[in-house]
Symmetry: C2
Subunit: 282 residues, 2 copies
């Protein structure tokens, strides 16, 4: 079985490497719009060879799309148009509702599995890819009932095979949850970076004083704008709601600071401490 | 030379361990208002013995205060009152302006070194302490000119000895910088945790979907409310200003999301990406 991965950045590149490492495909083909990325992917052993998308579709049992979500919107539909009913399509995009809506009436919808592996780093491009990115992480498959059981089985074989645990969810619920759990963290971190950079013109002060706490909180501000702008736009209702709630909490807390209401601050922080129960003590 | 550390939590406990590990004191005495903490500190080998503060002052060449900043405000003054001119006082508090203002006219001000080692984790208590917390981190000494050179030399001997690099800064500048670099990160993270917890009543969804990005951004939300409320209150002008700017950036970004202004979002995120230059690519 040959698998083609389209988009050889962090997500797609790591997926291709994980497939190869776990011997889940005879050959892993790569497609990227940038020839430089294809060259790097070959040099780094991310894929067996790079091919044109047309050729990939005609020679692969499975096509995996790992492109930015604005590209995906058209690409999922395009690839389904050109696929045969014996092939499978999987995407790894971070938003799911618009995508699944777009192709819900496609004759080959059953061959498509809408997925979102919950893994990533703040780095981008083929050089950022590594075979263990997905190990022990959670994968979400959306709208399971819209995919053929054969397609779900194939997808699970791949996701299980690279060490992921899959949960199932409706696309709408997925988009709401990730707005809070993932997209909001990114906005919060991007804007923290911006606030500090705008204020601290002397970079040396930042470099000098930044402890591990700041580094941790601002880490996602290094993420790719080209990947994230389309995600925020596609999930705008949910992200905007989450962000509005976040801003309200910050305003309430600012008021407590202004009033030196230490008890109020402590109560809010004590509530926030409950995140410890969920994430563990690490 | 005997050193007493008052407050045997993460900061003080780690400082005591680092002194012992690097053989910078003959004996390290510990003082904590909780007898349970003193017991743990002895069991964990954090200090040689626990003593009363009175006894500590009479038998130590150096007193190191590692208590919450609201306690410090009185304690720095009290200890200076009871010290002899041959002794030294160091504090490790996260805010410096109010503290230095309070004792600026004290007859023993020269024996006091106002310090802020830029290190920490989200964990608290003696069990959170470890000898390498301060290794390779930056220490800030404020208002150098207000301390005797003998006191500065002693402080540097200890901070250098535990592997820190010291920079000098005015207390007012320190408080402004840490509002952005440290205090704002904590507010941002506490409120992120609160927003997600309030929305996601089903804890399983959080635990399931939280990737490493969320964990990193929300990590500081596990920090101690009793330690942080006094810091925010003591540095309220600077923290409130920083927080106000952060909220404004978030509001601007929310508007871009609402308007699907992807170019605006990309510009803002590209600016934020510059944090990469400062923090490195790790």
């Amino acid at each position: 079985m040959n698998v083609t991965v389209v988009g050889l950045g962090l997500m797609g590149g790591s997926f291709a490497m994980a497939l190869r490492k776990n011997q889940l495909a005879d050959q892993v083909f790569g497609v990227d719009r940038l020839s430089e990325h294809e060259k790097e992917a070959l040099e780094l052993g991310i894929v067996d060879q790079c091919v044109k998308l047309e050729e990939a579709i005609s020679t692969s049992a499975v096509i995996v799309l790992a492109t930015p979500v604005d590209v995906l919107l058209q690409q999922v539909s395009d690839v389904l148009d050109r696929m045969s009913p014996s092939q499978f399509l999987i995407d790894l995009g971070s938003t799911k509702f618009k995508l699944t809506e777009r192709v819900k009436d496609h004759s080959l919808r059953g061959r498509y599995v809408a997925s979102h592996p919950m893994a990533g780093t703040e780095n981008t491009g083929p050089k950022a890819a590594f075979a263990n990115l997905y190990s022990n992480a959670i994968n979400v498959i959306c709208d399971r009932q819209s995919s053929d059981s054969e397609a779900i089985d194939l997808a699970l074989k791949l996701f299980d095979g690279i060490g992921m645990k899959t949960v199932f969810m409706e696309a709408k619920d997925h988009d709401k949850h990730v707005a809070y759990i993932s997209h909001l963290s990114h906005v919060s971190s991007f804007m923290l970076g911006l606030t500090v950079l705008n204020k601290e013109e002397d970079e040396k002060n930042i470099a000098n004083l930044a402890g591990s706490g700041f580094e941790s909180t601002v880490r996602l501000a290094k993420s790719s704008p080209d990947m994230w702008a389309p995600i925020f736009a596609q999930n705008k209702m949910e992200v905007s709601t989450a962000l509005g709630e976040y801003i309200n909490h910050l305003k309430t807390f600012k008021k407590m600071i202004d009033e030196e209401d230490q008890q109020g601050m402590k109560n809010a922080m004590n509530q926030a401490n409950d995140i410890r129960k969920i994430l563990g003590k690490s």
